[in-house]
Symmetry: C2
Subunit: 379 residues, 2 copies
């Protein structure tokens, strides 16, 4: 057939899957909201960024590497991978570095999930994982949170039931801040069905209580762990994440990843950040203090802050999702960027990231009016 | 079926496509070669990077943005997209920004190419495009270069013959440096079959003669143009590319892209680089001078440099691919990183990127021995 004669084709011809996908965004960025409201936010407490910033050594390394930015970054991420391997006492073959956990989740889903393949996650857990699954034609099954915790046993039981290829579990959890001990995760791993890989997202583990990281050998073929420099390391804008897993699985990322996708300065910054353990300890302390401050602000306003092992606190606003959304919208209108869980009953909460005295002062100043606004709507 | 009882599954269960893919790398990085040879390169002239570096304003913008690197970059790339739109006199809806052309090619292929779908490219053209096509199960058809030029008419004829969804054409071409005028590209566009999208990779167009960029309206649904800050703008390590195309197609990228994938400092750097037109003019002049110097070095050694509209020169070594490879290997052993075309007959050449006096001095000093080494092998 000569296509030039057919004359009836649309251009371009998307795949049926691409045709079916919405042009959706997992999260609306705060910059978009700032443009919409015509003013910058006073406090940026919605994206679980680390307002305290990265190690000064990381900043210096990134600034220094800017002079070399005419060069592509090392596609093997050799220095960073080797440093991470040493840090975790694993082999470099157990580590893949990528463009944030978001990028790595995309590659992982692409490797495993084809049209109609099933995955399991919690109802209201990280939407970017779901975005990737939908983007490769996968079918998402969910289980509810239990007492504001992700429920590994229920996730794994559902995974067996639907023959899932992949199950997603964040520990500590986002958006609730709740957590399980690493040994509890390991104990329940035996319930993970054969042929199902656990993605254990440990994005926040560096500010969780000791013992939260799952104590599993890197070569355990049942799971892959995701880590990031975006949260406690304070480098969200640099886009550096990594995964720890069995070497066969890690090597499979080389089949699909954007080999030259890493920013060269970001590679240098992550390496320096990893080596500054003193800074990490200071950040952990500041995060802990900020959580206490958020807890106090919540309690002062008659609200219930949930225990958190992360750099944010979910605050139970005491009513339903409509009420919490009204609180959130008033906060946003007052210039305080926060987010909230997507699914009931967790969406009775707002989610407030750790900030400094200034950010949290703005939050404290805005919350009473936000609650009054929401109550006025709710009469 | 209870998977726990089946007991025979491998973990993880890759898709059949992922299972079939090699863990291949489109290019071996120079850092890998440096580790293998146990010494850094004296001259880095193999990756068509811009050794003259980015605009000082871009460097300053990236360094400044490092202080804000704790924040995720704007997922809409709003400021950069709007500046690019103004620069090209198109609408922001005609522009998508991504993690280099490599990243954007990956998204584009994913949108269009499913298992068994056909694409057309030139034999020996950009291998990362082929990597993405294979990675999504596409079938690659090639046509030969004609007189060291990509051959649009042959590409489009082949596209009609195999009902290709996508055809790739770089103008100027990599690895040969050859080019067509933009009006010649437009003239042949009528031969592009219905239902086939042209990816026009204009990565090097900023250092090509005026009139090389294809003068097509952004909304022309027959093609999408790729541009980058990695080459003439000197920011390869930052990972910033963009595409110009019809708004429907551009919007489709939002279905699959890593929305928070852009490095925040890179966004700021690209914006500043775009605004420094004086620097761009200076770089064009330096590239032109460096091409002349490479030409002279080739001629001094009895070799034939090909005309180039890029920041590199393909040098015809006068014999076959085996000979050129021997020349290349001796250069690399002497600390001069260069690359060469993959396919015959273009692989009679080595490809040398523009460098400064020091880099090209090292190349000039090494080439006679490289030729002698290759001739000794070839006796």
């Amino acid at each position: 057939m000569n296509l030039r004669l057919s004359g009836c084709m649309t251009n371009p011809r998307y795949t049926p899957l691409a045709q079916s996908l919405p042009a959706s965004v997992p999260f609306v960025g705060p910059e978009t909201q700032e443009r919409q409201r015509g003013a910058p936010f006073v406090a940026r407490l919605g994206a679980n960024e680390n307002v305290f910033g990265p190690s000064p050594r990381a900043v210096e390394a990134m600034r220094g590497a800017t002079g070399d930015i005419w060069m592509y970054g090392d596609p093997e991420n050799h220095n960073l991978r080797h440093a991470l391997a040493e840090y975790h006492s694993v082999s470099p073959e157990n580590i893949v570095v990528g463009e944030g956990i978001d990028g790595l989740l995309g590659y992982l889903v692409r490797l495993l999930v084809g049209q109609g393949d099933t995955v399991v996650t919690s109802d209201g857990a990280y939407p970017t994982f779901n975005y990737h699954v939908a983007g490769f034609g996968g079918v998402i099954h969910t289980v509810p949170y239990r007492d504001d915790h992700e429920d590994p046993q229920a996730l794994f039981t559902k995974a067996a039931e639907v023959e899932a290829k992949l199950v997603y579990l964040a520990n500590p959890d986002n958006p609730m801040g709740s957590w399980h001990s690493g040994t509890d995760i390991v104990a329940v791993l035996d319930a993970l069905p054969d042929g199902c890989l656990l993605v254990l997202d440990e994005a926040y583990v560096e500010c969780a209580p000791d013992g939260t990281a799952a104590p599993v050998p890197a070569d355990d073929p049942r799971l892959i762990r995701m880590r990031t420099f975006s949260k406690v390391y304070g480098m969200a804008g640099a886009r550096v994440g990594y995964a720890i897993g069995a070497s066969d699985l890690i090597s499979a990322f080389n089949k699909v990843r954007n080999h030259f996708g890493m920013n060269k300065a970001a590679q240098a910054g992550a390496l320096a950040a990893l080596q500054d353990e003193v800074w990490l300890l200071q950040i952990r302390a500041r995060i802990s203090d900020a959580r206490e401050r958020i807890n106090a602000i919540a309690l002062e306003n008659g609200l219930h802050p949930l225990p958190s092992a992360t750099n944010f606190v979910a605050i139970d606003c005491g009513q339903d999702g409509v009420f919490a959304k009204a609180v959130l919208e008033s906060l946003v209108a007052q210039g305080v960027f926060v987010r909230m869980p997507f699914a009931a009953p967790q969406n009775r909460c707002i989610r407030v990231s750790c900030g400094d005295a200034s950010n949290l002062g703005a939050f404290a100043a805005s919350l009473p009016k936000a609650l009054a606004d929401a109550r006025a709507l709710n009469v």
